[in-house]
């Protein structure tokens, strides 16, 4: 009960206190660059609830969703064979390390040139590309980390390859794949903002850019607030889903010594 109270305080009370402090400070400071919280909130309501929700928030969410989904599917599909084969890793890892080390903004111009697009194709491809790596590397690690006793059990029972992957490899690697997915999801929000900020005609990042360029600071802050909330809520949703689907993992870890 006490722990619960502390948790609620940390999750809600402290952020509220910070917002109140922000409001009090901005009200007395009269700074052009730091509008009052109340002004930001009014702007937030005006923009996002819901006049520009359909034109800017929905496209951004679509890009995140699609890019993330592609990254997850591709990361698992490529990661499993790489995790299973030392030979495949030997050839593929240098390329993965190279592209992984590439700073995303460096690839923004080329993504526009290559895809002839500043629309959804380019944004989704950009998000998917950089979200691929956390899923891919975690899948490889997860597959490599499977207990050999389990693989030998599957082998001794003559499980066909596909069945072995489906019944043993994938579920065994799933907790680590989920950890990668969680990283990718927050990365997807970053990539969404980045790609929309660089070249776009819609999206939350686009609103951020336009407001900044036209010195409309209240909408700019409203966009920042929305982006923060988006990232936070997406993570919250993901963690909730993970807790349900991987409940066995927590139970198993609690039951197994070491």
């Amino acid at each position: 009960m006490r722990m619960r109270t502390i948790k609620i305080a940390a999750e809600i009370a402290v952020p509220v206190a910070i917002l109140v402090a922000w409001q009090l400070w901005t009200a007395s400071a009269h700074s052009k660059f730091f509008p009052r919280l109340s002004t930001i909130l009014v702007e937030f309501r005006k923009l996002w609830l819901f006049s520009q929700f359909g034109t800017d928030v929905v496209p951004s969410l679509e890009r995140i969703g699609l890019g993330f989904a592609i990254a997850v599917v591709a990361g698992i599909a490529i990661g499993i064979p790489l995790g299973l084969s030392r030979w495949a890793r030997l050839w593929a890892m240098p390329h993965i390390e190279w592209w992984r080390a590439m700073p995303p903004p460096a690839l923004l111009p080329i993504s526009i040139v290559l895809l002839h697009s500043i629309g959804n194709t380019q944004k989704v491809a950009f998000i998917a590309f950089f979200c691929l790596f956390p899923v891919l590397l975690n899948t490889i690690d997860g597959v490599r980390g499977i207990d050999p006793t389990l693989t030998e059990t599957a082998r001794s029972y003559g499980l066909p390859r596909f069945e072995r992957i489906r019944r043993i490899v994938l579920p065994a690697a799933l907790p680590q794949i989920a950890a990668g997915m969680r990283n990718s999801l927050s990365l997807a929000v970053i990539m969404m903002v980045l790609s929309e900020y660089f070249s776009s005609t819609s999206g939350v990042g686009y609103v951020l850019l336009i407001s900044k360029n036209t010195f409309q600071l209240a909408p700019m802050w409203a966009a920042i607030l929305l982006i923060g909330l988006l990232g936070y809520l997406l993570n919250l949703l993901f963690v909730a889903a993970e807790r349900r689907l991987l409940a066995w993992h927590r139970g198993w870890r609690a039951a197994t010594p070491t």
Binding site: D147, Y157, I168
Partner: protein, 272 residues
């Protein structure tokens, strides 16, 4: 039904070669219970994995019902020592037992029957929908045994299956395996480092030398069946047999131990 001929396994080559198994030959008859016992580190597990088709032997061969073993044979099941690691923690006891049946050409009802029957024979009907990690160590190993039984093998290989459970559970599991062996009429090849266990369970005990492993002696065990943890173990024949096997193994360990003593007594070996 199982013939192991001049089996040998060497890891590495040249100067780094480690000869795990020198030259092992023996046979296991239909429905026989054979235990394999030897000094620690004598390559018992390596031997079993070669027989199970999980490891390729360097020399010699294994014939199962006259067919050479090149990969895991369909009529053979293997139970590992590490029960908690051979079971899938993400799914129920039922699905764990079902695992080796999914790709077999069986009707769904038949599959379920096999799963339920094998779990019943190890006394785990009540635990069918639990996760393996919700069960005690002994129960988990019973799940692994039920899974092997549901697979309907003609031969069951067991690699020190009861080494990580407490003594009482161990006795119970020994009796359980003798019971299901009769019920399912299967052949068992059982590796252990426990001398009492090797004599208590077996029709014959195969005593191995230290590495590179050879067969030291094959000891026939003609104790009456059914065996009983108390009555069998107080029979003079049991006491005599276990002493005989213990002596064989002790003689195998002696040179290694002398080597250790010599090393410890060597002043050059002491730091400072």
């Amino acid at each position: 039904m199982l013939e192991i001929t001049a089996l040998g396994k060497t890891y590495g080559t040249g100067a780094n070669a480690s000869h795990a198994i020198g030259d092992v030959s023996f046979e296991v008859a239909e429905e026989e219970f054979v235990t394999v016992v030897g000094p620690s580190g004598c390559g018992k597990t390596t031997l079993l994995k070669c027989v199970a088709g999980l490891l390729r032997p360097t020399r010699g061969e294994t014939l199962l019902r006259g067919k050479r073993v090149t990969g895991p044979p369909e009529e053979l099941a293997l139970v590992f020592q590490e029960y908690s690691r051979s079971l899938m923690p993400w799914t129920s006891v039922r699905n764990n037992v079902l695992l080796p049946l999914r790709h077999k050409d069986l009707a769904k009802s038949e599959r379920n029957r096999l799963v339920e029957e094998s779990l019943e024979s190890v006394g785990l009907t009540a635990a069918i929908d639990r996760y393996p990690w919700q069960l005690s160590g002994g129960m988990q190993q019973r799940v692994a045994i039920a899974r092997a039984l549901a697979y309907q093998p003609s031969i069951l290989l067991m690699d020190e299956p009861f080494a990580s459970v407490d003594a009482q559970t161990r006795g119970d599991l020994e009796d359980l395996i003798l019971r299901v062996r009769d019920q399912y009429a299967i052949t068992v090849l059982f590796v252990t480092h426990d001398i009492d266990e090797s004599v208590y369970l077996a029709d014959r005990v195969i005593v191995l030398t230290h590495a590179p492993t050879q067969v030291k002696e094959i000891v026939p065990v003609e104790l009456p069946r059914p065996r009983d943890q108390i009555a069998t173990k107080e029979l003079p024949e049991f006491v005599h047999l276990r002493a005989h096997v213990a002596r064989l193994i002790k003689r195998e360990q002696a040179p290694a131990e002398e080597g250790l003593v010599a090393a410890a007594g060597n002043p050059g070996g002491e730091a400072g």
